[in-house]
């Protein structure tokens, strides 16, 4: 135990790292979990959020067990940036009935990757809409599936009506280098969009 203590500096508040997160959104089967797994230092983990109608403004659920409850699984991975910063990548639940999770996922996020699935581009419409509305910086990564239309980035940009300032890049979620490039593109975009002087 003693060595673990000194390693993490347990007991000194400064030693607790700061966590940041990036959201990976896109339709069902677009490659979100694959992307997370490609860059994560751990096998993606799955956590579950339980939402209960009664959890809003009610302190005690003891007697309300019949209230409707929804469970949503989120998968995530982790990248240790340095001793002080750890980055989490969260895949969005791909289903509409889990839309309620998006606000919590997006809160405080650095930015988002929207994975566009070339077999069904429309499945990422609402992710794009959501991040635009939230003002959360995002990039679109076009995940090309075998046998699908050989879209070019420009065509996807047009089809999804993506503003010129938002990067649209080609990607392969199974390829670590490709995923790294997508994340570099995103964080660069985030930094750029935070410093208007540099873009103007």
């Amino acid at each position: 135990m003693a060595s673990a203590d000194s390693e993490t500096g347990r007991g000194t508040p400064e030693a607790i790292p700061q966590a940041v997160k990036i959201i990976v959104a896109g339709g069902f089967g677009a490659g979100k979990t694959t992307l997370v797994a490609s860059v994560s230092e751990i096998t993606p983990l799955s956590t579950e959020e339980v939402m209960t109608e009664a959890s809003y403004g009610v302190d005690d659920l003891g007697g309300v067990e019949s209230k409707s409850t929804t469970t949503v699984a989120l998968d995530f991975g982790r990248i240790t940036i340095n001793d002080d910063i750890v980055l989490y990548l969260f895949g969005t639940p791909g289903q509409d009935r889990f839309w309620f999770m998006w606000d919590e996922l997006a809160a405080g996020a650095l930015g988002a990757v929207v994975l566009a699935d070339t077999r069904r581009l429309d499945t990422c419409f609402h992710a794009v809409d959501f991040f635009e509305r939230q003002g959360l910086p995002f990039v679109v990564a076009v995940n090309r599936f075998d046998g699908s239309e050989p879209y070019e980035a420009a065509e996807v940009r047009e089809a999804l009506d993506i503003p010129a300032a938002v990067p649209v890049v080609m990607a392969d979620a199974r390829d670590r280098d490709s995923c790294r490039d997508v994340l570099v593109e995103l964080v660069t975009h985030v930094i750029r969009s935070r410093s208007p002087a540099m873009t103007g």
Binding site: I16, G62, G94, D96, V128
Partner: protein, 164 residues
């Protein structure tokens, strides 16, 4: 050893993959901006949730029905990093708290505690909140979610990702 280097537990994504394969719908070309939640079709949500199903209310029995910690403390986000306070005397704790404390011997996020103990986030937040209130667990002073990440944090993240 890197304090974050702990073997991951296996992740089972098979259910979702199977569900995805079954959904072969042609993509009619729509303009986006149609809003949610109906834009992907109501059937989209049905693939999940048929895993080993336990009564959904079970989690709250762990917290005796509470949806909030016993006393108000810092709000716990899913990426709040928590760590066991090093200077605590041994004292009696119920098993679920002990399990959480064991995981917190090194800094760990709320989401990871939830995933590794297979306990819903909601419940983990309540129990961790109790431990924080008792002084058994410490968190990093929360950065308000409304505040944008600092430039130097972004730069460090960029540098870190480039090294991948």
């Amino acid at each position: 050893m890197n304090p974050w280097d702990r073997p991951g537990t296996a992740w089972a994504g098979a259910a979702e993959a199977a569900g995805g394969a079954a959904r072969e719908h042609p993509a009619p070309f729509r303009r986006r901006g149609g809003g949610h939640p109906s834009s992907e079709g109501p059937a989209a949500g049905l693939a999940r949730g048929d895993g080993p199903s336990e009564p959904l209310v079970r989690p709250y029995t762990l917290t005796r029905g509470r949806t909030r910690p016993r006393s108000a403390g810092p709000a716990l986000d899913m990426i709040t990093i928590v760590v066991a306070a090093g200077d605590r005397e041994e004292h009696h704790l119920e098993p679920e708290y002990k399990e959480i404390l064991r995981l917190c011997h090194r800094p760990i996020s709320v989401a990871e505690v939830s995933a590794r103990l297979d306990m819903p986030l909601t419940v983990v937040k309540v129990l961790l909140g109790d431990l924080v209130a008792e002084g058994d667990v410490r968190t990093r002073a929360a950065v308000p979610v409304t505040r944008l990440p600092e430039k130097k944090v972004l730069q460090a993240v960029l540098d870190g990702i480039r090294r991948l």
